[in-house]
């Protein structure tokens, strides 16, 4: 009986340890999810929810804070780069259309001028 109890406790403790690690990892993932969702939805009311999760994560495993900070820095840097690239592409596209418009206008003005000259000759 005692052996069985020992084995049961050992198993329980083992799974509890594993469970704790998973628990911390879950908190890390929750924080990531909240941030991504907030940025996608542009939801500025995410702070209280995230604060709570960050504190829980830090208490669970302080080393995860560093990992989270690194992840966030990369995430926000990539997000900003992506947004800036999109903006640059849009500006380029607008510039291209503007050039095309000016070319069309210049060409048609030239045609019109030629016709007027021919007509009055």
């Amino acid at each position: 009986m005692r052996t069985k109890l020992t084995i049961a406790l050992l198993t329980f403790s083992f799974f509890k340890l594993i469970g704790q690690t998973t628990n911390c990892q879950d908190k890390f993932l929750n924080c990531k999810e909240i941030v991504i969702q907030a940025f996608v939805d542009n939801d500025t009311n995410f702070t209280s929810k995230l604060n709570n999760q960050l504190v829980q994560m830090q208490l669970c495993d302080p080393s995860l804070t560093g990992r989270f900070t690194i992840w966030y820095k990369n995430f926000v840097a990539n997000y900003k780069t992506e947004i800036n690239n999109e903006l640059q592409n849009l500006q380029n596209e607008k510039e291209m259309i503007s050039i095309q418009t000016n070319n069309v206008k210049a060409e048609s003005n030239k045609n019109l001028s030629n016709q007027i000259i021919q007509t009055f000759r």
């Binding site: 005692r2 403790s13 208490l59 800036n84 607008k94 418009t101 048609s108 016709q115």
Partner: protein, 239 residues
Amino acid sequence: MKTFLLIILISLNSFLSYSQMADYYTTGYHIQTYDSFLEGFSNYNETCYKSNSMKILLNSNKMRIEANDMDQINQNVGEIGSNFTMDILILEDLPLDSGALFHKKISGTLKNNQLNSVNSMMKSLKFKGRLYGHKFSYEDFVTDKSLNGDVFFKIEYENGKKENYQIHISQKTEQQIESDKMTKKMQEDMVEIQNQKNKQVQEQNRIRQEEERLFKAQRAAQNIQDTNNMINQLRSILK
């Protein structure tokens, strides 16, 4: 042996249960800044310490200040990176000074945990002094009516050294303070990104306007071309 193993496992189990409970447990009061001297205390402004990792614990008429990674100008208590603990006993309430919310006579001991031979004389120093409250009520703080505030006190060590202290304390834990900083940064990033997104929308509107201009220009060009063709045809008929 089995009994011994059983006891160890039960202890481990209890520890794990405690660890989980500790997720929701915060310890007392944390000092955020420690950076200036009270005006008018010019007799004592010889020393200035800065630390971002200090902790203050209030319990009845006792206050304990623990400082780690101390960064100090004018070395006095210990070396940079040393730890010190200051146990303050509040002896009695004194008549209020002007502007003070509380005014108490204190005594206590300053202990340095990492001392070398140069400042070993500071290893354990008893002091007497006064505690002043200027921005919050001590009673409100210990009864959680107030979440943060400043503690001001001046002390005189038994070796004659005098010091002033101004400490900002908060009931927020270090984790909360750190997460607040992080979320604040995130909000700033979010605003920046939103500005860029707004610029994208403006740019898309400009593209739409430019496309309309292009369409009109192409239509005008086509009209001119059609007119040209018609004139050319008329000209050939008239010839």
